[in-house]
Amino acid sequence: MIIRSVLCAFVAAALLPATSGADDFSREQIAFFESKIRPVLVKECYGCHSDRTGKIRGGLRLDTRQLLLIGGESGSAVVPGQPAESLLFTAMNHDGLVMPPKRKLSKQVIDDFREWIEMGAPDPRESAAALVKSTVSKADVRRAQESFWAYQPIKETQPPKVDREDWPKTDVDRFVLARLEEAELKPSEDDEPYRILRRLSFDLVGLPPSLTQIEKFSHMWADDPDAAISKVVDHYLKQPQFGERWGRHWLDVARYGESTGHAVNLTYPFAYRYRDYVIDAFNADKPYNEFVQEQIAGDLLPAADDETWAEQLVATSFLAIGPKNINDMDSLKFRSDLIDEQVDVTSRVFLGMSLACARCHDHKFDAIPQSDYYAMSGFFESTNTFYGSQKASTNPMVQQDSGILEYPVDAPSPGQKIYTQAELSDLKDNIATLRSELGQGSRFVGIQKRIYIGQLENELAGLDENGRPISFCMGVQCSASPGDATLLYRGEVDQRGDVIPRGFPSVLSTRPARIDKQTSGRRQLAEWIASDQNPLTARVMVNRVWHFMVGQGIIASPSDFGATGQPPSHPELLDFLTARFIESNWSVKSLVRDIATSRLYRQRTDMNEEAYEFDPTNSLLWRGHPRRLDAESIRDNMLAVSGQLDLKPPHGSEIANAGFVRIRNGVLEEISNGVGDMAGRMGGGGMGGGGMGPSGRLQRGGPGDGAGPGTRTQARGPGNGMRPGGDNMGQNGGGGMGRGEIQRGGMQRGGRASAGGRGNSDAGDVPPGRLDMVDANFRSVYLPQARNETPRSLDVFDFADSNAIVGRRETSNTADQALYLLNNPFVLRQSKAFATRIADEAATPTQQIKLAFRLAYARLPQTSELRTAKALLADFNGTEKGLELLCQSLLASAEFRYVY
């Protein structure tokens, strides 16, 4: 088995070299710097390497002593005492790097620099002192530990006594009823069975119940409501659509996106593997504590076979899929922001803790000193993140590039093409020819050519020697040189304070963590977070599940369990459920079942003025929360009702099909030719050209650092170069792609051909973009999720912004939604299909109307509705158009998108 594990790494120095301060130099030495060195730095270097001009090429700044010693992407610029080791000096000598780029400095100047470095590089240009005094004292931390509810161990709680013994169906109900009785409120009546079924169906699988299900359920309900619910819940829990529904909830929280976002928006063509991993995990009811550990440290966990390893590796995409400003010129800052993002997702997603608030100062509200942030960031400082991008050396828009991980199982993406030997040698020839032509033509053409060469070289790097695509995934690996993080005063990279040993937030730890200094410690972090003893992890997840099932969390702010969040409405219930959750081996399905079979879940949503007066937010649950379907359920609901829904998951995604490309104007800019459409862009520089974009695959080579020391079997060491032999994996991933309960067999490219080619002759019109995929019939969870380019069908209904951790979506009612429902081509297509379906399945107008209502609302029309619907059909003389309008009206109406 091979691991051609890590392909490339770009790591800024994590640790500041031990340095002398300005005081350690003599006056003469400083005078030497001032007269011979500083003027040269200002004149020759600051233009590209200083904050004075704002330019930080190669991540290198030469305008403070600290940053000069830290250096840029290539390493320290100056090693005091050692000119030959100092890149600044060797570059001046044109040994390796060539600086300044266009000419060589005089011998006198170079000699001055040698002398200066030999004397220890005296330099008075200190950054501001980093003296940081914490305002969060140990006593504050202890007080919070002792008193703040979220940090208390999970208490064993017994279901309380209630007066109305006939109401509760489960222990959960007793907790809710007890609070209601305390407030002298009554729970609402059970809702009508069809509505309960509709609620269950949308909540568990995100789809409407079928007509047969409605029929069956009403019969079973008449017999025994409890058994009816139990049976249907069990059924839904076994459907592969459960994972699609609940996986999508997780993807909201995990800020899943298939591109970098920001202004230079590059695809993540392998992000979909994480999406599929999440869906599978929910379908398999993977214990949540394992799910958590895999996402933080899957690369470090033992794995019995390649499949398991592959799965665990993909899980770490969690840390890699965040938004990134790959156009940032300052690589130190970029890396610090990347780590910040990882600290933020890890702490808010799993712990409901906003640790990232303490990046620049102590937390303003919680007992989180700034040092806690850096204790946590040390884990990620010691980690390399592989998100995969075009190469910076060939694409000027990419300042911060990244390699990607080789996927341990041979399962290429649908967009990866197999090359014949002839095509392979053509590709190589093409690269050679283009390379030989470099230097001809204008600067701009040169840039375009280099981008194109970069794309082709990446394409080549993504192929084995036989032209077969190599499989890749996103994820993280341990750094070869793990270390602790340095506290940054006000979060500024050039204002460094103390080194903070890696560890866990102090308010959650009774004693300091012991992290093996030779490892990143990420596995320990994962184990600590996923521990039964951690008071937050299980509570946070239980609350998330409650939120999705009930409509409002026990803590109304699902990702904020801190002082600024909401206190729990039912603290005992939360602990009761949390204890049960842990006992059930962290089973999400059991938890969902617990809630789905409760009495409170069946409540009507009607208003009760008296209760409203007392508890306007319904936090005591005197009624069910009325809820609007979320964006993907609205779209899937339309497809289901129209009969067009294709439940077969597509392989990969539209983003995977496109490969490494830039996304602009809703367009995936794929390789066309080297010089490209210049799209009117002028000049080179940072602005780049319109035709640039795509890249082929990846950068390979370079030392892989494989798994963390000692955590993997020896056989998995990097670079023992055999591919899995004799496989029969077709390009479309045939049998090899079958995963879990879902058959993800043949490749389905969704609406690519039609959507991609959809032109519009009216230049003034706005054609649906390829990423809108108006012709796709698969479930919404598989629509492309490029950041800032959410498909319209989802965007219009408050879909989760993949730039943020979204634990709770908004629901708005906007005129734009009305316009979408009245005029959008997707809606029009579904209306037409819906009309065709009811025309096929029912004969008379009355029957057709009845069928349409049952499909759309899971109920028959009332007399008045039947009358007005008939009137509508009559106004259109019983034409097909009338039926289409009727169907569209049902899809557009409030009842279709609300669960009451």
Binding site: A263, D606, A815, N823, Q862, A892, E895
Partner: protein
């Protein structure tokens, strides 16, 4: 109608009883007024009272995508001209502007020959000649200019303004972005603010080649307006039925009912406001419409005037590309010509309609360009010193604020960071940038993060 009435009950009463159609329209106008009185919780876009009384009520932001050279337009640098050919502070060869500067208006502001028409409004302009930001690369700087940071995903300026002030016309989005930059989503996204505050995009790609386009899903390809009205009547019957069956307040269903009426009317309002064919020949000429050099930007300026007149709170127009690394002396004049007359036309038009006094017009790019030459005929990026200007909306006219050094490298006098600029804009709109906050992820966020000093000297 009997008075007094509870606004909510009355809304509800009407929604239940009024059959849709023309009767509804009259109601909707009343409802819009009622909405203004209701709390912002009821309608997040309802007009809100600013923190303090302010002159500026709306904004037109003319964003010059790609960063125009300040040294050749609004930042007169005689010393740079004198030192032409000498070595620059950070290397390279200084390049004095090849364009003539002269004084304009009573105020005597120095403006280059590239903006002859805007120069006629010199006494309305407040030049901020000491701008600086943190990012020297276009995409990052563009995002910082709009959201305050290029590091994190934050709401755009327009989103904050609509969040703070709501909007005046319920039939229109509160924030419109005309032909935003190709990668411009961060420039109009609301990020963590509720999505109703997101900018609505009209067209794309900095509008140099293609004017603004149709709004999305703004009409039905198969249906006459009359037939669609019939359909909407039916949808509203379904919705009202649901409202009738439910007990007590069901704000959601009411919201759906309203959304269809507004959407229906937007189908007409939007194209009407985008239709410039009813304007007089003189107006069209004033904006440079009909002249190929100025037509595209002129149309957008005219539309922007129509939008703000109709009550849209924040309109942004992007125009590019100003990235003159080479052929500056050839291409910069072309670009300036394309916007000069339209901007002057807009200022004049606003003034004639007595709207300039409370409409804030903002002009500028994401950073400036180097005093030293790049190649033979270009200037590189510089983010340490550049010029933006404002006009109208409570801004002092005919003033120049702050200064760069003698060559124009960096701001040295009264530097205005992009945070300060944003704080000043909010102040002009009656919003205190320290009070305009939104709670997200456990803390209160501001448009200006922890920064922002108001440039009081440019406020009238």
């Amino acid at each position: 109608m009997t008075q007094p009435f509870s606004p909510i009950a009355s809304r509800r009463h009407f929604l239940r009883s009024t059959s849709a159609g023309f009767g509804y329209l009259a109601f909707a106008e009343m409802a819009a007024r009622v909405a203004a009185a209701e709390s912002s919780q009821q309608n997040p876009l309802a007009p809100k009272t600013p923190h303090f009384p302010a002159k500026a009520k709306r904004v037109i932001f003319l964003y010059m995508d790609g960063a125009p050279s300040h040294l050749d337009t609004f930042d007169y640098k005689p010393q740079l001209i004198a030192d032409d050919g000498k070595a620059g502070k950070y290397g390279g060869t200084l390049w004095g502007s090849p364009f003539e500067f002269s004084r304009h208006g009573d105020s005597g502001l120095w403006i280059s020959e590239l903006f002859p028409n805007v120069a006629r409004h010199a006494d309305d302009l407040a030049l901020i000649r000491s701008m600086h930001c943190d990012q020297p690369a276009h995409p990052s700087a563009m995002v910082q200019m709009h959201t305050g940071t290029s590091t994190f995903i934050r709401p755009s300026l327009g989103s904050w303004v609509v969040y703070g002030l709501g909007t005046e016309n319920e039939n229109m989005p509160g924030f419109l972005s005309l032909t935003p930059p190709a990668a411009g989503a961060p420039s109009y996204n609301s990020a963590f603010l509720p999505s109703v505050y997101s900018g609505s995009r009209l067209g794309r790609g900095s509008g140099r080649r293609s004017g603004p386009q149709k709004a999305i899903d703004i009409d039905n390809p198969n249906l006459s307006r009359q037939d669609q009205r019939r359909q909407i009547d039916f949808i509203q019957q379904l919705n009202r039925g649901m409202l009738d069956r439910s007990t007590g307040s069901q704000r959601n269903i009411e919201g759906v009912i309203e959304s269809f009426e507004l959407g229906y009317r937007m189908q007409d309002t939007m194209p009407q406001l985008m239709d410039t064919s009813q304007e007089t020949a003189q107006t069209l000429q004033q904006y440079g419409i009909g002249n190929s050099a100025t037509d595209s930007f002129g149309r957008q300026c005219l539309m922007a005037r129509g939008f703000v007149e109709a009550g849209v709170r924040f309109v942004e127009i992007s125009y590019g590309i100003w990235d003159h690394h080479s052929k500056l002396s050839e291409n910069l004049p072309t670009r300036c010509e394309a916007v000069d007359l339209p901007i002057a036309g807009l200022l004049k038009d606003l003034k004639e309609r007595d709207m300039l006094k409370d409409t804030l017009v903002i002009w500028g790019g994401e950073f400036g360009r180097t005093p030293n030459r790049q190649g033979r005929d270009g200037r590189d990026h510089i983010n340490k010193g550049y010029t933006l200007w404002m006009a109208g909306g409570g801004v002092k006219g005919g003033v120049s604020y702050g200064a760069t050094d003698e060559h124009g490298y960096e701001a040295v006098e009264n530097p205005v960071h992009i945070h300060d600029w944003r704080a000043t804009i909010l102040h002009l709109l009656g919003l205190d940038h320290e009070q305009l906050t939104y709670r997200h992820a456990g803390r209160d966020y501001r448009l200006t993060d922890v920064h922002g000093n108001i440039a009081h000297d440019i406020i009238a």
